[in-house]
Subunit: 335 residues, 2 copies
Amino acid sequence: MATVEIDTLKAVLYQALTRAGVAPNVAEVCARIHTESTRDGVHSHGIGRIPRFIDYVKRGWVDVDAIPTRVQQLGAIEVLDGHFGVGVTNALYATDRAMELAQEHGMGLVALRDTTHWMRGGSYGWHAVEKGYAAILWTNTESCMPAWGAAEQSIGNNPLVMAVPHQDGPLVLDMAMSQFSYGKLQSTRLKGEQLPIDGGFDESGHLSRDPGAIAATRRLLPTGYWKGSGLAILLDALAALLAQGRPTHAIDDVQKGSGGGSCQIFMLFDPEQLGGRDACNAIVEGIQAHLAAVTADASGRPVRWPGGSTWRNRNSVAPLDIDDGLWREVQALAL
Amino acid sequence: MATVEIDTLKAVLYQALTRAGVAPNVAEVCARIHTESTRDGVHSHGIGRIPRFIDYVKRGWVDVDAIPTRVQQLGAIEVLDGHFGVGVTNALYATDRAMELAQEHGMGLVALRDTTHWMRGGSYGWHAVEKGYAAILWTNTESCMPAWGAAEQSIGNNPLVMAVPHQDGPLVLDMAMSQFSYGKLQSTRLKGEQLPIDGGFDESGHLSRDPGAIAATRRLLPTGYWKGSGLAILLDALAALLAQGRPTHAIDDVQKGSGGGSCQIFMLFDPEQLGGRDACNAIVEGIQAHLAAVTADASGRPVRWPGGSTWRNRNSVAPLDIDDGLWREVQALAL
């Protein structure tokens, strides 16, 4: 493991991105978001995603100069076309725009189509709560998981983010519809371990905890079996409907890499106008206190709330441990 | 099993409800909704729920004369107080009101607080798609499931409904955050069977497929383990925030039965204003055709989409098979 200061990581990512042709202002934002994801422990969508992002830029799958344009304005709803621009800045733009609409209407819904991979969905949930807004956000994706009952990849893992603000520890959920990510399969396999529960199917079609066997079949298990499969299908249909864009099977045809041509939904809510800031804080504190007081199971660990451990990471300035090979690869991209 | 004509069931439910003091117009709606849920195969929230509903009415936990009143109007958002009125008619009122707002604004969000059990959440999803609207709906509940890592009931199962219309088979998802319902535990136990996958914890704290053992501990498994637990927590916080009402731990203190004092969210979208009816139909048809063409797993069954089997039930007028004892119990309530 390499030990890397946060500011060093950000500077190297900025260098790598500008060297790939990303404009300085866009590279600055992307370097910050990828650094934050790394610091928050989500290396797969932080530094780990930089080489692939740069590859997509070089292939022309991400248009680093495109900016979102408005397709429709309908009360508190705005539909944007992302023109295959940078997924991170497109998504931040949409989040900020939805906040403006929420300030005006109590809630804002921005639906973004023809965008590219937003990396870690949680980034926009954290962005929202740091500005004092509650949020429901999701994306559809290309097929990367079998529907329940299917032998082949046929639905997206369609990450869903929900967030409620509090200045001392907001609730932030960031969940994909697969029980585990490919990143988790890889890191578990490299440690020579098995998954703690079934995570997909092996070659013979049986449920398995073997990360290598699952990665080989690409038959990830939807979270909650039929339930996560159904939720992925509905998130897909609603994203395509609201953004007037592509559902998963049509994203498959775009062939511009993971997330290229996807739809994203950004619903932001202003607690100031919905009972007030104090009431929102009381809800978050009440839920956290309730969970803290619950009897733990046999693990003996206190019950955690979504966002709790990330919140602690986000307040740390300690240097980060980064995989040696990855760090060398990204440094080389910055030269 | 008793064989009961649909119209007979509805008439008997109407009689039972009016005999319990429910006004004719309210009883008419409730009898229809409970009959439809029974016909759709959801007996637990159809005829099966009538004795408990009538018990709640007799205890004064449901005020059969209360009607929702407006607390706040904010653009496309409306906050209602349900005054512990009948959950079904409160929820239908909220759905209809959200449709009116959606007609005006493209989307409508009605947040309802101090309401009672809405029975089967899917009823309102089906109601929405039959009127041509897409929907995202959910409720919070009292604690009925342990949070992930907890040994005791501490979160709600907080059912979530998502629906996208199509005149020949809409997509309708209706999922609780527990992997199985208590109704499913009971019916599986009565058949002397085991659950197909783990559904909760037994007395020794181990994951179990034994429906009797799980019902005894009341330690239901959240769907997707930590994921369904996290989603339940965020659905709870957002419901309480939007409705300016009670989160799960505060519903626990109300002590007016299951669902008494809960919050419900009704988000309705008008496809006419979001790309148009044809585009919405094309999304639904495209997803269904894609799933129909997918290679099935070892079961060999075609891959299903959420709402598909219910859609077929809804178009049937065949008499219903109803548990003998339950049918006698409900008939006695109607005398």
